[in-house]
């Protein structure tokens, strides 16, 4: 897949095989739905069949007491309300079960409980809903201006919030000699983790706790949410996230179904289980990516961007989510649109509009897939306008290494990197001239070859200061790591973040190994349980390896003097004469060594052999960490692709896909590659397949995987990944986050390649996904537009 990149050993930079893979590959993973609590009852939800309406009545079947619940029954549960300090932000309370109104197709209205899921669904069928339908608000461009028909009655329009930025726009736009307008759009999609939402909840009488097995990326903040919305003390709630089959942002949110099931367990003190099925996911989880951009670029004759004017409309759906709020998406869109480019004039207005669709949520790459798509299509459009190679125009505009660290037009602080070098590396490895020649020569089967590039930078591991500007009710601070040596010389690491596929059981062990030299197989990572791990806001925003990883590195470092103290005593030398060696243990001045294992044995089992003035804090420690400068460590990449476009079918085949990426110091190149592959696969989904369309009544057109296409193994090309390593100056070991990056560039790079292939035909596509149907429509339109011209000639 790529040139072998990696250091020997098991520490930072080594290609250590993932420790967790054995259980996953043998089908021995443990997910929420593998949890069986004796006597557990199954839960099903009756969901709104209409997009917008007033609930006039709900008739429960006879004798369904204690088995069928509406909002009125859930008296102890509060509505999910996510406050925000962003100006113009309006509150939208989301009841655990719809109340008064339904606001999207798939909104849970009634909860039914039975011995089996099928019987719970039978019960749902017996409930009668009387809903008076209201006209649905489906198009965000319409809803934005609509004042009489509103998603939330207590608002005076349909705007969640409006953001704006204006930095140096007027002065710089005036200097432009080239003005380029484009409109680009992304469709609504679902995140489709392999495992959907899932909860098993029961009351543990002995602990006097609500225990929830919960498929989440963020157990600690979910606990805060559940406790708040049920009026419990946090100590009365324990969240256990076992193996999580993908999250992508869907699982950083407290969802109404989860709250409803928590209420059942609290109320009835029995176990209840709800496992989201694929249909529920597609219908009520259609919550991501839908942005609309109107862009004007002001450039000079060389294609150097001087100023950018943007209007962004985000189709926010019906509710703001807790705790990330709907403000996150417009905030990130407005702030990240300038991308990796050096220009000083920027004006942006971002509208986040309420519509009758599921509420928008942060999906891998949060807003950046959209802004990268917008910016990179614009770069190619500028190149066309000034008649230059899009690669050259990018080079003209990218932030240069000597400008680093660089504060961009919206004061984002790019910490380090060589953006042009990544683009150049992508072009070189891609072998641009080979593809250009093939393009010129033409394909024997008549397909058209296209070449595309896209560059982006990705804010990762941003901390308190950044999240505070997005107005969230809950801002991440320091992450903790608790490490403990075991009597036999192993290590236990407890962190509050949670892996949902990222391989953190391996990479965190590598970090600990880097400091203490313990075999990674003897390092056990515990995460995903509020009962056993220190507090963290969790895993999202490409933050875990920098934040909780940094804390782990620091914690391991803190153990060393304590280890040396015991070791020196055993060696009979002074503490300052001894040193710690990862391979040998504690080494004395004469070269004699005492193994770490021996030191652990002494502390735990034979304290009679320990020095009298031994460090009494022992061989365990909890340390907190966040980078001193927490504005983020920016990873970045350039992608290059070649496509073949069949103009008779609209089919696009990806012939080559090259990624040149830099995520700072690589902890495990193989894991970085795995994350990149998965991200790109999702990005290809956004680019070419995934889409939920709504009709005028707000009915979604895709509710099963027969209608909602995902790329499969034969649609994902072999990717070639190349690494650069520019350490971040702000983080431990220069590590940057990178979990989201892969999903950012694919729509941009694929559309640019397709537009390149079709340049002669005048077709320029700019709406995801690029279905054959959409492409054929454009081709047919261009054919008809060109016909008269040809006749005239």
């Amino acid at each position: 897949m790529s040139e072998e990149h990696g250091k020997p050993g098991q520490g930072i930079g080594a290609r250590v095989p993932r420790k967790e893979d054995s259980r996953h590959l043998h089908g021995r993973g443990q997910y929420v739905s593998d949890t069986v609590i004796p006597g557990q009852r199954e839960v099903a939800f009756l969901r709104s069949p209409v997009a917008h309406g007033i609930i006039r009545g709900i008739r429960k079947p006879a004798n369904s007491e204690g088995r069928v619940f509406t909002r009125a029954d859930l008296a102890e549960a509060k509505d999910i309300v996510a406050p925000s300090t962003l100006p113009t932000y309006k509150l939208s309370g989301q009841p655990p079960l719809a109340h008064g109104k339904v606001r999207f197709v798939g909104e849970p209205v009634v909860m039914c409980v039975a011995r089996t899921r099928a019987e719970a669904e039978d019960l749902c069928e017996q409930v009668e809903l009387d809903i008076e339908e209201l006209p649905a608000l489906v198009d965000s461009d319409v809803a934005r201006f609509e004042k009489s028909n509103r998603v939330h009655e207590d608002w005076d329009d349909n705007l969640f919030l409006t953001l704006s930025a204006d930095n140096g726009f007027d002065a710089l736009s005036k200097k432009a000699t080239v003005v380029v307008n484009r409109e680009v759009e992304l469709s609504r999609q679902a995140m489709v983790p392999m495992e959907g939402k899932a909860v098993v909840a029961y009351w543990d009488e002995r602990a006097d706790q609500l225990i929830m097995y919960y498929s989440t990326q963020t157990p600690h903040i979910v606990r805060t949410g559940i406790a708040q919305f049920l009026g419990l003390d946090e100590g009365q709630v324990r969240i256990i996230a076992p193996d999580v089959g993908g999250g992508f942002g869907y699982k950083v949110i407290v969802h109404p179904e989860e709250l409803s099931v928590a209420w059942l367990a609290m109320k009835y003190r029995k176990p209840f289980r709800w496992i989201e099925d694929r249909r529920e996911h597609l219908v009520s989880g259609a919550n991501a990516r839908q942005h609309h951009y109107r862009l004007t670029a002001y450039a000079d004759d060389k294609g150097r961007l001087l100023a950018l004017d943007a209007e962004i409309t985000i189709d926010g759906g019906a509710y703001s989510n807790w705790p990330f709020t709907i403000g996150l998406e417009p905030g990130q869109a407005t702030g990240n649109l300038p991308g990796p480019y050096d220009f000083q004039g920027y004006r942006c207005k971002t509208y986040c509009v309420a519509t009758n669709k599921p509420g928008f949520m942060p999906y891998r790459g949060v807003a950046r897939t959209g802004v990268c798509f917008a910016m990179e299509l614009l770069m190619d459009a500028i190149a066309r306008a000034v008649d230059r190679d899009p690669y050259e125009v990018r080079m003209e505009n990218l932030v240069r290494p000597e400008q680093m660290p660089y504060d961009n037009v919206v004061k984002k602080h790019y910490d380090s990197g060589n953006y042009p070098a990544a683009l150049a590396l992508a072009r070189e490895k891609f072998d641009h001239s080979k593809w250009a020649e093939r393009q010129k020569k033409g394909e024997p089967d008549g397909r058209k070859i296209g070449i595309g590039y896209a560059s982006y930078c990705e804010q990762s591991a941003h901390g308190t200061s950044v999240f505070a500007t997005w107005g969230l009710p809950l801002v991440p601070g320091y992450d903790q790591s608790a490490v403990k040596l075991t009597p036999d010389g192993g290590l236990e690491v407890r962190v509050g973040v949670h892996s949902h596929g990222q391989g953190m059981e391996t990479t965190f062990a590598q970090l600990a190994h880097e400091i203490l030299g313990i075999d990674v197989q003897k390092i056990k990572i515990t995460h995903g349980d509020t009962g056993t791990t220190p507090y963290s806001t969790g895993t999202y925003a490409s933050r875990s390896i920098v934040m909780a990883g940094g804390a782990t590195l620091k914690a391991c470092q803190e153990l060393i003097p304590r280890i040396v103290k015991i070791g020196a005593f055993l060696l009979g030398c002074k503490e300052d004469e001894a040193r710690f060696d990862k391979a040998l243990g504690v080494v004395g001045p004469d070269g004699r060594a005492v193994e770490l294992k021996e030191i652990c044995t002494v502390w735990y089992l034979r304290p009679d052999r320990a020095p009298l003035d031994v460090d009494r804090r022992g061989l365990e420690v909890s340390v907190s960490y966040k980078p001193d400068r927490d504005t983020g460590a920016f990873s970045y990449a350039s992608h290059a692709v070649a496509v073949a476009v069949d103009t008779e079918t609209g089919q696009v085949e990806i012939l080559d896909y090259v990624i040149a990426e830099d995520c700072g110091t690589l902890v495990n190149p193989m894991v970085v590659e795995g994350q990149t592959l998965g991200g790109v696969a999702q990005g290809i989904g956004t680019a070419m397949y995934e889409e939920i369309q709504y009709d005028a009544n707000g009915q979604p057109n895709a509710s099963t995987l027969a209608d909602y296409l995902l790329p499969g193994p034969t649609e994902i090309p072999n990717m070639r990944i190349y690494h650069m390593e520019t350490p971040s100056p702000y983080t431990m070991y220069g590590i940057k986050g990178m979990g989201e990056g892969g999903a950012i560039a694919p729509p941009a790079v694929i559309f640019n390649a397709v537009n390149d292939a079709l340049r002669a035909t005048g077709v320029e596509v700019s709406k995801t996904p690029l279905t054959p149907h959409r492409l054929l429509e454009e081709i047919e339109r261009a054919r008809h537009q060109q016909m008269p011209k040809r006749e005239a000639a």
Partner: protein
Amino acid sequence: MKAAAFEYLKPQDVPGAVKALAGSAGDAKPLGGGQSLGPMLNLRLARPKLLVDVSRLEAMRTIEDKGAFWRIGGAVTHSAIEDANLAGCTVMSDVARNIAYRTIRNRGTIGGSLAHADPAADWPLALPALAATIVIAGPAGERSVPAGKFMKGAFATELAEDELVVAVEVPKLSPGARWGYWKFCRKTGEFPEASAAMLMDPERKLARLWVGALDGAPQSLDALAADIAMRGTQAVSETSVSAALDLAVPGQEPVSRRLHVTAVRRAVQKGFN
């Protein structure tokens, strides 16, 4: 997404299956591989009271060489056809190989596919083009229908509620026959958006051209097929195919038309390559 409750019956033989179907007044359905019926049960779009599992009936699971034709049981799976060595009918394996994915082919059956009658499915297009015959069993015994007459429309067939597809009979191709089959799928394993099949078998005086993945049942383009029989690929152009489709499938929107023109042209091209 769990099915409503139903009873399950595993009959001993074909008459037993037919009897069970006949005895339950339209509330029963045969179960083949369950690859189409399963999702419909789970979505509660189909709510039979009784499922009569025909997928294990030996009489419907055999493939027999009958000399001039192959007789393939109605419960034979797509992958069994894919793996079979059907002398004179290897094109059947080629068609089977491109249905869905192997896991679905391992269960999905040819009889189930025909009875389900999805307009975009492969067998409802390939079998008429191959001039095959569908063998149906009912309370009155067996009867045969030409494959081209079996499907009546989208998800509608010749079958009565108490009838089964027990077999298909596929005539062997002459050595000089030309077969072309082409379909356009958005991705591997998806149902096609346009498909076409051509058989030119001069020895058997057969010239057949069918187009599928329409709103209704696949359609034959007889005049164009006859022209191809006389003039070969010269008979095929954008204009001639469009004209043929205008007659057989009037009123298609432009994108579908483009795809079907492409499908017909490429199927013919494949046949002559």
